[in-house]
Amino acid sequence: MIEIRNLHAEIDGKKIINGLSLIVKDGEVAAIMGPNGSGKSTLSYVISGRVGYEVTGGEILLNGESILEMNAAERASKGVFLAFQYPLEIPGVTTMTFLKACLNAQRKSRGEAELTTPDFIKRVKTGADKLGVPQEMLRRALNVGFSGGEKKRMEVLQMSLLEPTFAILDETDSGLDIDALRIVSEGVNALRDPKRSFLVITHYQRLLDYIVPDTVHVMSKGQIVKTGGKDLALELEANGYRDYVGEAA
């Protein structure tokens, strides 16, 4: 469970998050929708601990423990995962190498034994097959020359291997055609679990047809201005954000 209390955060002295509060319970899929510039991506960076995003007030608790003093790697090992809107390319580092380094770094940080190579390969292969990721892609440098759909699938594969307790999907639908969207969404749905919570950030209702949320939050000017069920997304799709954007002060 993640609990955000009265969070304030800024970048380069500019306030972006203004007293935001949000709870995502174990097993819950929460969606955050909102217009451009409302602070959705910033929120994902603040939660995952990106350098330069300064928290000036409030608290973020992951399963009751404050994560604000932890760096990004420590938060990742505690179970925070961010599926990037624009996954980064790492030239010369094969996908396999990257996955193994990350997985073992997290395991080590939690005091768990490193995976043996055969065990690791088995896990990757199982995960990759489910997502339709070809073996050949695992031997290529991470994300280098991947299509938009391949990159997003790779994000979901990483999520399935790292088994986070709290996953943020930042605009995972951007740049995806319908087929890719379906594959990626199925991948995410397969990871839904009573012990895992999701925060799905999106502009469009379309993604929520595939990943059906339990709750929908509307974000504007760095705050949550409206919370509802999955029907709220449909209403936003029909009427736009204007009914809610004005409410934030």
Binding site: S48, V51, E89, L162
Partner: protein
């Protein structure tokens, strides 16, 4: 990758400024008096019982050197070196030359053991190493041990200190010494010709594929002592040899001079693969101490279809001035240069290569990866030249620089000249920084900043690491991370 993890563990286990090989061995040595004059040159020559022709060769070099000026075109700066304030000869006492390993000073064996260089053949054989490497260990001015000599001799391979080759194979030494890097070549090479102490000599007979990797391990121990080694490798027709060179030095506050000359000769259809992992003491983070590495390395692809390949991983030295080059004399010969040059702290690197195309249908390939961190400066300087006769010369150059942080510099200076219209030269160059986005992405997946940097850098240098023999590549990978320690955060 396990190696990344291992490197990072090692990085964490050492202090900033810690240079792992910085210890000093307590070994009594015999030195020539300080300074340089004709008597010192004669002293060195006499110490090695050299024939008259070689003494004269040295003296000629010395006299020429007196008329030369230290080059100042490289992008490096350092206080003037007082050449009269150096020792030009230092040898461990009671060890006038290589002999049976059982007679070698145990302190010396311990020194190499500490450096991870096994000199006892039985230990190497008993170990888990899959591949054996024959080692020539050079300590200050002399070779102290050469392993696997008997086994190599069975294959006809000569691998011995050059001081020994002068006596055992004078015809080869006389024919080839100075044939690739002439006495008059440049200030440091000329100095080396006058005072060179020891180094390795390799001869591979026609048609022989050298049965194991050959390796020389250089160690500077004495204070204020220049190391001037000389390596000569001759691959006769149709032969093959892979040669590795490693080097370390103690941590000292004074700068130490290292001015080596390496000459390679490949006859028809021969191939020489020369790999270096250079890890001289780089000085501390403020630029105090460290080795001045002024080295001339050149290979002559003398025969048709011959091939010479240089691979270097440069992490040490306060100043590096080094351009391993190929003269592509034989028709259809090929030269390669793969380089990783890493600079951190106050290190200054001016390194690159020269590919001189003389023969027809000659090809060359240059892959250079420069990584700068701290307050260092890293310059790639490379020449590609096709002479008139070199029809259909081909070169491909790829020169990438990676910057870590805001206070370092990367410079690329190519000199490209084609005197034959059929030459095709390609040059690609990029300069990039490890982006904060990349670092954050890796950290979000659980890697620490150091681990993330190591991973990204290893990816950056992958093309070159793949050229190194396996065990060297793993070592180099670790070294890269250690060299970049403290560069992020």
């Amino acid at each position: 990758m396990a190696a990344v993890q291992e490197t990072v563990d090692r990085v964490k286990s050492v202090d900033v400024d810690a240079y792992k090989y910085g210890f000093v061995s307590d070994i009594e040595s015999e030195k020539a008096p300080k300074g340089l004059n004709e008597d010192i040159v004669r002293f060195i020559s006499a110490k090695k019982n050299e024939p008259v022709w070689l003494t004269e060769w040295r003296l000629e070099a010395y006299r020429l050197w007196l008329t030369m000026r230290e080059p100042d075109w490289a992008r490096v700066s350092y206080p003037r070196i007082n050449y009269q304030d150096l020792y030009y000869y230092s040898a461990p006492k009671n060890s006038p030359g290589p002999k049976n390993l059982d007679e070698v000073d145990p302190e010396l064996l311990r020194t190499y053991e500490k450096l991870g260089i096994p000199l006892r053949e039985q230990e190497i054989l008993a170990g888990v190493q899959e591949r054996r490497v024959a080692v020539d260990a050079v300590f200050d001015s002399v070779s102290v041990a050469t392993t696997f000599k008997a086994e190599l001799a069975k294959a006809g391979v000569i691998f011995c200190p050059i001081s020994e080759a002068v006596h055992s194979h004078p015809e080869l030494v006389k024919k080839y010494l100075g044939s690739v890097v002439p006495v008059s070549d440049n200030y440091y090479a000329t100095l080396n010709s006058a005072v060179f102490s020891d180094g390795s000599f390799v001869y591979i007979p026609p048609g022989v594929r050298c049965p194991m990797e050959l390796s020389t391990y250089f160690r500077i121990n004495e204070q204020n002592t220049g190391q001037f080694e000389r390596t000569l490798i001759i691959a006769d027709k149709g032969s093959y040899v892979s040669y590795l060179e490693g080097c370390t030095a103690p941590k000292r506050d004074e700068n130490q001079l290292h001015a080596a000359v390496v000459e390679l000769i490949a006859l028809d259809d021969a191939e020489i693969k020369y790999s270096t992992v250079q890890n001289w003491y780089p000085g501390d983070s403020e630029g105090k101490g460290g080795i001045y590495n002024f080295v001339t390395k050149r290979g002559d692809c003398f025969g048709a279809r011959s091939k010479i390949s240089w691979t270097q991983v440069e992490t040490g030295s306060a100043i590096t001035w080094k351009y391993p080059s190929c003269i592509l004399r034989g028709d259809n010969s090929r030269g390669e240069f793969y380089s990783i040059a890493i600079s951190n702290g106050r290190q200054q690197v001016d390194s690159g290569t020269k590919m001189i195309h003389l023969g027809k249908n000659t090809t060359s390939r240059i892959i250079s990866k420069g990584i700068s961190a701290g307050r260092s400066n890293n310059t790639y300087r490379g020449q590609v030249l096709a002479q008139k006769r070199a029809s259909n010369a081909r070169n491909f150059t790829n020169c990438d620089s990676l910057l870590i942080g805001e206070t370092c510099g990367a410079h690329t200076i190519p000199y490209i000249e084609a005197k034959n219209a059929s030459a095709v030269f390609e040059h690609e160059a990029t300069t990039s920084k490890i982006s904060e986005d990349q670092l954050f992405y890796c950290m979000q997946r659980g890697l620490s900043a150091e681990e993330a940097t190591a991973l990204i850098v290893n990816g950056f240098v992958r093309d070159v690491l793949q050229q190194l023999p396996m065990e060297f590549a793993v070592e180099a990978q670790k070294l890269i991370s250690i060299s970049l320690e403290g560069s992020v955060g």
